[in-house]
Symmetry: C2
Subunit: 208 residues, 2 copies
DNA sequence: GCCTTGTTTAACACGTTAGTTAAACAAGAT
DNA sequence: ATCTTGTTTAACTAACGTGTTAAACAAGGC
């Protein structure tokens, strides 16, 4: 039999199944046999390809982190005003989490749970983010000097934006438990309105 | 030997150790033998008193949830203006998390991880919180009618406040990994400033 | 002095899960 | 026809962690 590199190869099937299971349950609650089953593949084969669970997990984790980072980098090609830039940043990040709703909790959970993953996170993610932060800061300090916006630290800004965006999707599953308040409207509509709320909160805050 | 109910009793020692370990590592990563060791007590005794790990955990969990709820209820005895009430709410919640910095992640983590705990959470926590929400909403709707504040939903308000407050203490441990940005100042000072930031963000948002 | 209750010791039963191994098979490549 | 590589089967190990159990001990209460 030939080594097939296409998507239907067993290796890819395992990776795909691993992604699903790890994202849904996190590292510890995920079982290699379950992943193998879901991939329609023998449990021994999983170890044949990836040797360890940790190994398989790190592939998935690194890939998701890359996705996350890319979502940051899209922004900074255009030259916008500070307000436009921040609005765009809030919305882009919000949309990203909205598209990958499992990620906020997944990232927090795994980064908290393991030293190894913290290292992957800080080494792979933070350096790339530094550039984006610097670019926002440049524009921010300019506007502050001109007296157009309030004196806020760029890190405070990013933490605030990310708090609102990530936390919102962490607690989204709770919607199921409070049906009266959350889910009476169309979910997509609620999410869209919440995005605008985040933009409002951030822009009004830095507004002078 | 007599049953001693004071704090130095073995039962209390186990509970105390359990609290420490569970808060630091969460349910799954905590091992009963470790808890027994930390309590300076034999592993069999832990089961003698609490029978199961789940049992022991739920005692700790319920106690922490109660603490959390109490921190909400302090507020609503005084009659304040809406602005004062919201400032006070933000600050009280922030101070609570500041005092119990492990709680934000602990609560999120355990509520996400187990159906049982979600039930404890929704049954024990949410009903009590409803009252507080209703009281804030009363004042809020009043002020909105008078045109003094922006039209925001009370749930949006609470979610925003709690996002900022909880998420901030979830990511606090990250401070260790980015020493240049976070920890150049006195930590207590940084936290105090951040509290003011949260108040600013929320009040400027609803301000007309 | 004996009973009771709290406590230790140490061994064990049991389930779960990661990872291994050896033997057989399937099919394309040579 | 044989070699190679991917794959299955099925059994096994080794480790770990929860919970149990029985026997002994310690000390206050009767």
């Amino acid at each position: 039999m030939m080594k097939e590199i296409d998507d239907s190869s067993k290796e890819k099937q395992i990776l795909k199944a691993a992604e699903e299971v790890f994202l849904a349950k996190g590292y510890n609650a995920s079982k290699t046999v379950e992943i193998a089953e879901k991939a329609g593949v023998n449990h021994a084969l999983l170890h044949y390809y990836f040797r360890t669970k940790e190994n398989l997990f790190n592939k998935v984790f690194a890939e998701k982190m890359d996705l996350f980072i890319e979502s940051f980098e899209k922004l900074f090609s255009l030259n916008m005003s500070l307000t436009e830039l921040i609005r765009s940043f809030v919305e882009t990040q919000f949309d990203f989490f909205s598209k990958h709703q499992e990620l906020p909790y997944f990232i927090i959970h795994e980064v908290m749970a393991s030293e190894t993953r913290r290292e992957i996170f800080t080494q792979q993610f933070f350096p790339k983010m530094q550039k984006s932060i610097a670019q926002i800061d440049l524009l921010l300090q300019e506007e502050i000097k001109k007296g157009r916006v309030k004196e806020v630290r760029v890190l405070d800004l990013l933490v605030s934006i990310t708090s609102l965006n990530m936390f919102y999707f962490v607690i989204r599953p709770a919607e199921k438990f409070f049906p009266e308040d959350f889910s009476c409207y169309n979910i997509q509509q609620v999410i869209k309105e919440r995005k605008q709320t985040h933009v409002d909160i951030i822009l009004h805050w830095i507004e002078k």
